[in-house]
């Protein structure tokens, strides 16, 4: 299956196929030179589904129901971005309750989603360790080590998060309630009270998560050293949504981009995205590479002169002037103080593995924000959870922060509101170039001539992309499996010289 060493220039080749503990499928090809050093590295995404084409001809109000099927892991992100694009297509300003309900539902979803990544996908590398037996390096191992009480809390967070999704939108997976003009249903006092209970629990769960992060990861000098000094550091531009005060908001705002030193490159409304972002096509992967137009595409390189940017939890903190909720703000200051020496957050963080830390800070922000929203009296207003739409304006862009990055839906319709054109730039796609860079950097830092290729070494290469919580299902609008990985080093004839697998 893996053809290797067929170029005269090639020394050896390492294939990691497929990579694991991410959402979706990816394959890593590492080419070694004659000295056994990494010559080049490709992170391929092997699929495409074509949502942008087959959504043409659909009534635009159906898009918030169709596009969540891009990703069953983050359906709320697509539903919200789609509903916002529809609002714009109909020229609607949402009534306050509708806006609040959407943001409330969305923040509860964020807690559930971030928790799943931290405990099930990324946690094993830290709680068990990157070199732990791969047989226990999974969520069950995390539970065994962290104890049954933590396990109970994680399961409750998932279960209650999905209960909240059902209260809002009928189905716990692929909820259906965001529509052009608001929500298909409001919430009554009984539902609100239950949601408040769920949000209160989520704030406590956020505290627990930050404590675990401190006790297990940050207090361990080996992990802190890996985060600060391992081959996981890229200076890139950062992107994220900010509100009118310049603070992080997952549901709405302007898109702000800062350079590797923290200076603002641009700040724009979502509808202007195509003036600022372009996408590059490469022949060796189905996924495109977005980049900053103003800076330009210079290939898969980092730095001030390269248009490569990141849109991750870390990037969102990098572009934000603090966080609007107290516990999250406290965690924000500590994070920047530790990593840059400046608690204000003016200097961006570029340590790739610290994205996990930023994700935990976002988790508690989302919980606190949700609790604030669910306590507002207007949230149960029986009239203003939606408005009826009139004639379409004909074009609309909707942007939210998906857990994995800035998500944009752009629709053009005819005068009946039938979709004529669709463009989607999804969370993980923003980060594709940076993920390629991080994987190559880890490979170059870890694979040395004569060094033994261990399973732990392979896992450390995978940790470079796992930090991004990538979802290639979203990115390609396709989701093949999350596979275990196998690594083979071959000579120029394709003979296997060494193999490691788990």
């Amino acid at each position: 299956m893996n053809h290797t060493g067929d170029s005269p220039a090639a020394g050896r080749r390492i294939t990691i196929d497929p990579v694991t503990r991410l959402e979706g499928h990816g394959k890593i090809d590492i080419f070694l030179d004659e000295n056994g050093e990494v010559a080049d590295c490709y992170f391929q995404v092997p699929e495409l589904r074509g949502f942008e084409k087959f959504c043409e001809g659909r009534p635009v109000e159906e898009m918030p129901r169709i596009t969540p099927r891009i990703c069953g892991v983050c359906p709320e992100a697509h539903m919200m971005a789609s509903a916002k694009a529809c609002d714009a297509v109909y020229g609607i300003d949402l009534p306050p309750t509708a806006r609040m309900l959407r943001e409330l539902q969305y923040n509860i979803f964020f807690v559930t989603d971030h928790a799943t990544h931290f405990y099930a996908l990324a946690g094993p590398d830290f709680v068990l360790g990157p070199d732990a037996d791969p047989g226990i390096r999974n969520i069950l191992g995390v539970i065994a080590k962290a104890g049954p009480e933590v396990a109970r809390q994680v399961l409750q967070c998932r279960a209650w998060g999905h209960e909240a999704a059902s209260i809002f939108g009928g189905k716990p997976v692929n909820p259906v309630n965001a529509i052009p003009g608001g929500m298909s249903k409001g919430i009554n006092e009984e539902e609100r009270a239950r949601l408040e209970e769920i949000c209160s629990f989520m704030v406590e769960f956020g505290k627990l998560t930050l404590n675990i992060l401190h006790d297990v990861v940050l207090a361990d000098p080996r992990y802190l050293d890996l985060i600060l000094h391992g081959p996981y550091y890229s200076e890139t531009y950062s992107m994220g949504l900010v509100d009118e005060r310049g603070q992080l908001n997952f549901y709405d705002g302007d898109i702000r981009v800062v350079d590797p030193h923290g200076a603002e490159l641009c700040r724009y409304r979502p509808a202007q995205y195509a003036e600022h972002i372009a996408e590059r096509v490469e022949p060796w992967t189905y996924l495109k590479f977005p980049y900053l137009k103003k800076v330009g595409w210079k290939g898969l390189v980092s730095g001030h002169d390269s248009g490569v940017y990141r849109a991750t939890p870390q990037s969102r903190l990098n572009v934000s002037h603090g966080l609007a909720t107290p516990l999250a703000q406290q965690a924000f200051e500590e994070y920047f103080g530790t990593l840059t020496g400046d608690r204000s957050g003016r200097r961006p963080v570029h340590h790739t593995l610290a994205i996990h830390w930023a994700r935990c800070i976002e988790l508690i922000y989302a919980a606190e924000r949700a609790l604030d929203l669910v306590r507002r009296p207007e949230i149960t207003d029986p009239d203003s959870y939606r408005v009826v739409c009139g004639k379409p304006v004909g074009e609309g862009v909707g942007t939210v922060e998906a857990p994995r990055g800035t998500l944009t839906h752009h629709y053009i319709t005819d005068e009946r509101g039938i979709v004529r054109k669709v463009n989607l730039i999804v969370g993980t796609t923003n980060n594709y170039a940076a993920i390629c860079l991080s994987v190559k950097q880890a490979a170059q830092g870890l694979i040395r001539k004569g060094a033994e290729i261990t399973e732990g070494l392979l896992n450390r290469i995978e940790m470079a992309f796992r930090a991004y919580d990538p979802c290639f299902g979203c990115a390609t609008h396709a989701l093949p499996g999350r596979m275990p990985m196998e690594l083979r080093i071959r000579d120029g004839e394709g003979n296997v010289l060494a193999a490691a697998k788990r």
């Binding site: 053809h3 220039a9 080749r13 497929p18 694991t20 979706g24 080419f31 092997p46 699929e47 589904r49 074509g50 949502f51 942008e52 084409k53 087959f54 001809g57 009534p59 109000e61 129901r65 969540p68 099927r69 990703c71 069953g72 791969p134 390096r137 999974n138 998932r158 809002f168 009928g170 189905k171 997976v173 692929n174 259906v176 309630n177 529509i179 995205y273 195509a274 372009a278 996408e279 590059r280 096509v281 022949p283 060796w284 189905y286 009826v388 739409c389 509101g417 039938i418 669709v422 299902g473 396709a478 989701l479 093949p480 499996g481 999350r482 275990p484 990985m485 196998e486 697998k501 788990r502």
Partner: protein, 328 residues
Amino acid sequence: MSTKSKKRIAMFWASSCGGCDISLLEIGGRILDVAEAAGIVFWPCAMDFKYSDVESLPDGSIDVCLFNGGVRNSEQHGIARLLRRKSRLLVAYGACAADGGIPALANLTSREAIFEAAYHANPSTENPERIEPQPRWRAPAGELHLPEFYETVFRLSDVVQVDVELPGCPPQAERVWETLQVLLGAPAPDSWAGGRVGCSPRTVCDECPLEKKMVKVSAFRRHHEFRPEPGHCLLEQGLLCMGPATRGGCGALCVKAGMRCEGCYGPPAGVPDQGAAMIGALSGIVDAANEEKAGELVSQVADPTGTFYRFTLPAGFLKARRHMGGQS
């Protein structure tokens, strides 16, 4: 713990969104009961087993394989064949594997058109050299390979023999739990009709709490245009609720959130074509005194194919634009 006497179970995702894997987790703590009753030998979403582990199993040694997602490319096709060979009971899990699902709406178009939309005619793509992904590409250091993107999406049963189908987008958790219990040895309930499991022999209408007032529909409407009257059948209010042409089992969850059924559980028992069933149901409720009036009503349907065949395009009479085209 020995898995020798245990059943062996596998779960795989092909061209799907991951929602089916999430739906399996939706059974909550009961997933531990499944792990107790069965050794999970392959579940890429949750466990570290490899293709090579599956390849090394004797043929027919997986008792139950839950396969979700359709088949969109050559790689998924290969895995479908491999898992068929290794499994005694192959389950098409979820709407995509069972009926094609939403991604199969791509069968209305073509590979060329999909590539054109994704890589060329797109407001943010800058691709003056008209580069497209290639199955084989020679990088400076060696050759790279991508799976072949097929012309159309296939149901699982289009490429291999399927034993049972569990519909839904995604299947509802209680139905998943009931199904797993039966697959692992409990007696099948009478409601299981033919090869379709985890659903009701009746329709979504039979589970729906809304009231039918037996009024005729004089105009079709779209949900952003008006606020439906609470408690009243959405179809009678002019929304194209697929309830009468959709198999029950979900508990009418979408309707309870104020939205029309979009048909994700596929056609009712014994009905081959969901769209034809819906058109039949509509003929009974539209207020059309004559053919001209009926034609006028039908012309109000904004997107007949995407409404009546949203989840079942490869399964219905329409099939694909070029069915089975592009398959190697």
